[in-house]
């Protein structure tokens, strides 16, 4: 991967890649692995980009797919069943943000199902329903309802954590 490609085509979107990777990992080490793998896959897939969507949408899609794939691999490696909705692993202390509210929110997001995590983060990134649907590969009409449900669930989790 040339450093130019990284600077011009990946770094401007590093924010969302970091946010996504953090939602699917519990440690700094895993996070760095996920981030590197996402960058690698974006670089590898660059020739398949057909400009049918925006580059940012393409980047989000690859990031999400890589995170989900790595998560699946990790689950298979530890060889125990983890339900779709709950991650039982604790996050490491050195993996925390300096903003405590953000840490609590991230912990809550990690308790959502894998797809719900992606939906809520794209929503929080102010992506339109159409864009979210395009990235996830679902019907845009369902996104609004899904976001509402996820927000309700998140609030419940957050209330539980705060109390």
């Amino acid at each position: 991967m040339s450093s130019d490609f990284y600077k011009t085509s990946i770094l401007p979107f590093a924010g969302i890649i970091i946010k996504l990777c953090r939602a699917y990992t519990n440690s700094q080490e895993d996070f760095e692995d996920y981030y590197q793998e996402v960058c690698l896959q974006i670089w590898r897939s660059k020739d398949n980009f057909r400009e049918e969507s925006q580059w940012s949408t393409w980047v989000y899609r690859i990031s999400l797919n890589v995170c989900l794939t790595l998560l699946k691999k990790k689950k298979n490696n530890v060889q125990h069943f983890v339900s779709d909705s709950v991650t039982t692993e604790e996050t490491e202390d050195n993996f925390a943000f300096s903003d405590e509210s953000l840490n609590v929110l991230y912990d809550a997001i990690r308790e959502l199902s894998e797809i719900d995590r992606a939906v809520i983060m794209l929503y929080l990134e102010e992506k339109s329903q159409k864009e979210i649907a395009e990235i996830i590969g679902t019907n845009p009409n369902n996104i609004g309802v899904r976001v509402k449900r996820i927000k309700t669930r998140l609030k419940k989790i957050l209330d539980g954590k705060i109390n």
Partner: protein, 218 residues
């Protein structure tokens, strides 16, 4: 005051430490290890497949009455597997701790050595396989006598003037020698063609990565 999740998100990421991208300098190490591991896996599978095939063919050759072919085939492929197993041991010795560029260079050198040795082996391998087929069928039992002798007998009935050397028609010997010479001459090329079918994509990736790292180094 209770903040909405949208506000927690926005305000949380305003702080400078929240979005620090990790360094990606380890990326090439991961990629090169991944490619080379893939090659090692394919190479091992290939060797196992050759061993399995030579065993299976040995058994089949006895069942269909061409044991000479089976035995020569088995012996030749065993030598081939032995040589390549030695080469694989050399590959395992490449130090993973060196930089990815050096690692890829070392791997590339190993590939070139491996290709060069196997090309030389192929100049003998294909002719030996061909001659083993000829011998197998020549000595195959055909109603109490070798199939080759029976065929020669039938040829002599139609063409009594055919010139024989040790009971074999000269024209047959010439054709077999010609094919052997062609196989020996093109053995290296057949091997390269075979190699590209199996590992072509992997070699291309390796080449691309080498070029890429070299462009970064310059």
């Amino acid at each position: 005051m209770e903040k909405s999740i949208e506000n927690i998100w926005k305000e949380g990421f305003l702080k400078s430490d929240a979005l620090v991208a990790p360094k990606i300098n380890n990326l090439y190490n991961q990629k090169s290890i991944h490619i080379i591991d893939k090659f090692k896996r394919m190479f091992k599978i290939n060797l196992i497949a050759i061993v399995a095939f030579s065993f299976a063919f040995l058994i089949v050759s006895f069942l269909i009455g061409i044991p000479i072919t089976g035995i020569i085939f088995f012996a030749t492929l065993s030598v081939l597997v032995f040589i390549n197993k030695q080469l694989l041991n050399d590959l395992e010795k490449i130090d993973l701790g060196i930089s990815s560029y050096q690692y890829l260079k070392a791997f590339s050198q190993w590939i070139n050595k491996q290709i060069s040795i196997n090309k030389k082996v192929s100049r003998f391998l294909y002719p030996i396989i061909f001659i083993s087929m000829i011998l197998g069928f020549w000595f195959k039992d055909a109603e109490g006598m070798p199939l080759g002798e029976k065929l020669v007998g039938e040829i002599l009935v139609g063409f009594p003037d055919v010139y024989l050397i040790f009971g074999v028609p000269l024209i047959g010997i010439v054709i077999v020698l010609l094919i052997l010479a062609l196989l020996a001459f093109f053995g290296g090329r057949i091997y390269t063609w075979d190699l590209n079918i199996v590992y072509g994509r992997l070699f291309k990736k390796l080449e691309e990565m080498m070029t890429d790292i070299e462009s970064l180094r310059n």
